[in-house]
């Protein structure tokens, strides 16, 4: 069996190249070992590549900061006009700082502006090249967090549903139903939330779907009940119907970060499907093997941690319906993170 091609697309924040690949392999290997697959080596079974847009956004962020600082330097405090210039540019001059609001949230903001189109063009080039070189091999895409929005928007612009004999000479495209992905995996899918900001793809049905008019043979969507990024404009069973594939709701809490990509991949039900679809692994399909890994996987769960977090955050979750802008969303998420931190500290 030829090696499938796996394209990984990371989420918000600074992601050095290969960071996501390491997390993917680690999660998958934990699961494969747990299912009893002997000597599983992801590199032997698949060709993994990343689409990394982290550096692009970091460069944009730093250039904006430098340009603002350049003007601020011309109007030192106390000089005529400095107060006005500070009001207009001081925030922008901080864009290169390492605080979470700049390294993570700013990614969402910058992607939602016209910079997003430059990233979508590069992702389309990457995907086009993968299909060019894949020959007869299966192409799978796995995206996490902001990467799900980047992917969704790009696929929505790049894939076209065309009748027999119909083409488009003006724009680059792939044919839905013709050059399809084998599977598409979205972890902590935020594309519906980002579409509120950038208005690129519809929140209703798009070409990013499985089925006869979709861009992929199968679509798998995974969310954790305590991942706050999945609470707003959620991409789940009651908002998106999947024709071939399914939604997964995960609940086990082993680490503080319920948004962790590696933890998502290692989740037993998810990993069973991942290994079956990507490398046709049959061991996870055996009930005994599956049960054994479920038990092993939950060994590191802190007892009752899920219930404790859920009890505390119910109020926070309830506040999501009062969110009217990005600043309020940020505050709510910050409250959630602080609450979870406190619960873990109490438990230790």
């Amino acid at each position: 069996m030829s090696k499938p091609v796996i394209l990984l697309i990371h989420g918000m924040g600074t992601h050095p190249l290969d960071n996501m690949t390491r997390e993917f392999k680690a999660g998958l290997m934990e699961a494969a070992n747990g299912f009893g697959i002997d000597a599983f080596d992801p590199d032997e079974s698949m060709d993994i590549t990343e689409f990394n847009y982290s550096e692009t956004l970091d460069n944009i962020r730093k250039k904006l900061a430098e340009d603002a600082q350049e003007i601020l330097d011309l109007f030192p405090n106390g000089t005529p006009g400095s107060e006005i210039v500070n009001k207009l540019l001081a925030f922008q001059a901080n864009f290169s700082e390492d605080e979470l609001v700049y390294t993570h949230w700013l990614d969402v903001a910058l992607y939602s502006l016209y910079y997003g189109e430059s990233i979508r063009v590069e992702l389309a080039r990457k995907l086009n090249n993968l299909f060019k070189e894949a020959d007869n091999r299966r192409v799978h895409i796995i995206a996490h967090s902001l990467g799900t929005a980047v992917l969704h928007d790009t696929l929505d612009k790049f894939y076209k549903v065309l009748a027999p004999g119909e083409g488009d000479d003006d724009y680059p495209y792939l044919r839905a139903g013709g050059q399809n992905l084998k599977t598409l995996w979205t972890f902590a899918n935020v594309n519906r939330l980002v579409s509120v900001l950038n208005n690129v793809a519809d929140r209703g049905p798009t070409v990013v779907r499985s089925g006869p008019t979709g861009c992929t043979d199968s679509l798998y969507n995974i969310y954790h009940t305590l991942d706050p990024f999945c609470w707003f404009e959620p991409y789940k069973e009651d908002t998106v119907t999947i024709e071939s594939g399914r939604h997964f709701e995960t609940r086990v809490v082993r680490k503080k970060n319920t948004h962790s990509f590696q933890e998502y991949v290692a989740s037993p039900e998810v990993a069973k499907y991942l290994l079956a679809e990507l490398v046709q692994a049959v061991e996870p399909l055996k009930p005994d093997n599956f049960a054994a890994y479920v038990e092993k996987h939950s060994e590191n769960t802190v007892s009752n941690i899920y219930d404790k977090i859920e009890a505390k955050v119910d109020d926070i979750k309830g506040g999501r319906n009062q969110i009217s802008n990005a600043a309020e969303l940020f505050e709510l998420l910050k409250t959630f993170v602080d609450t979870v931190e406190n619960i873990w500290e109490e438990d230790e």
Partner: protein, 363 residues
């Protein structure tokens, strides 16, 4: 002696001289045509693994080669293509039915090749403007499915016997279920070789367009007039329809500017001697810049705040930007008029640090 030209003649003169440049950008089409499609049939379908279904694989590669040649030579050549593909389907179906004796598998093969033929009969127009159905397998929760892409799937019944194991050669003591999965997947892979060139051709057609878009964005991020986050927001909002269309696009030719601060040198002929040159803060209330025209050019409404002894400290006027950087403008201070330039105007002669040092001397 009165100046020969009043300061407010400047904007009129500039507009007359530069108007043609606004419409002189190269068209997108001409830029794309600079990068023709690179495609040939030499690569073709490549066998990456030895297949158990060697005859099907051989047939598939032959069909792929013919399709590839037809892509390059035939325009709207549908009848030859349909016959070629229908014959290929029939031959492949016959070969597969000989290999699998399990009734459920045979039923699935017959059903799915029927779907294949139905889709082939719908092909029309140019070869590359059609979808070519591929076989595939899927195993979910212990059930094996066999289908062409997006067709109605056939479920392989779970009363597996050892007929698939005879096909796979009982590798690694496979269960009958696993053997059927592996065998059908192998058959699908061998069969699907037939349309590899069509996909390669589509990607080849995309290459020059994607290259153009990518280089346009690189050029924009490198060369266009720098913007504050407010400018970027304003530009994104005004061009919302453009960027949210259902196609990948190059950067819009127009940038917008909103509440943009900059430092300027102003010369006011009407001010008293010794007070004719001032540095000040210009706020571009609203501006537009054609960043990619033959001579990149922009215009904006500005106010300039400068500390004159006798003239109004606030003046309003127009600013003109050239080459995405240097700006020159005119400001009306009621009883007097001034001409100003931004620091970038001196970019041609000095580096930024020297400009900064010179500016600071005025503070």
């Amino acid at each position: 002696m009165k100046p020969l030209l009043k300061a407010h003649c400047l904007p009129v003169a500039l507009l007359l001289v530069l108007a043609p440049a606004l419409f002189a950008a190269d068209s997108d089409e001409s830029r794309i045509q600079d990068n023709p499609i690179a495609f040939n049939c030499d690569a073709g379908a490549v066998s990456r693994d030895p297949s158990r279904f060697k005859e099907i694989e051989k047939l598939a590669i032959e069909v792929d080669t013919k399709l590839c040649q037809n892509l390059l030579t035939l325009k709207g050549g549908t009848p030859p293509t349909r016959s070629l593909l229908l014959d290929f389907g029939k031959q492949s179906e016959t070969l597969l039915l000989k290999q699998f004796s399990n009734a459920s598998v045979q039923n699935a093969i017959t059903t799915q090749f029927g779907h294949y033929a139905d889709q082939i009969l719908m092909i029309e127009g140019d070869l590359q403007n059609n979808n070519y159905p591929k076989l595939s397998t899927k195993t979910i929760d212990g059930t094996l499915y066999f289908s062409p892409q997006h067709g109605k799937e056939s479920v392989i019944a779970d009363n597996f016997d050892d007929s698939c194991t005879k096909v796979t050669g009982d590798e690694d003591n496979q269960t009958p279920f696993n053997a059927c999965t592996a065998a059908l997947e192998d058959a699908a892979t061998a069969f699907n070789n037939y349309e590899v060139s069509v996909t390669r051709y589509r990607t080849a057609q995309n290459d020059p367009k994607l290259s153009y878009l990518s280089s346009a964005w690189s050029r924009y991020l490198d060369k266009a007039r720098s913007q504050t986050i407010l400018d970027v927001w304003a530009t994104s909002a005004i061009h919302d329809d453009y960027y949210s269309q259902r196609n990948l696009v190059a950067p819009h030719p127009r940038q917008y500017f909103f509440l943009r601060p900059q430092a300027v040198y102003e010369f006011n002929q009407d001010a008293k001697k010794g007070d004719r040159t001032q540095v000040g803060l210009a706020i571009e209330w609203f501006g537009v810049n054609w960043w990619d025209s033959k001579i990149p050019f922009g215009v904006g409404l500005i106010s300039v705040f400068a500390d004159y002894e006798e003239e109004d400290s606030v003046g309003h006027g127009l600013q003109f930007t050239f080459n995405n950087s240097a700006s020159i403008g005119w400001v009306d201070r009621g009883d007097s008029e001034g001409i100003f330039v931004t620091l970038d105007f001196f970019k041609l002669w000095e580096d930024k640090s020297t400009q900064l040092e010179q500016y600071k001397k005025y503070q």
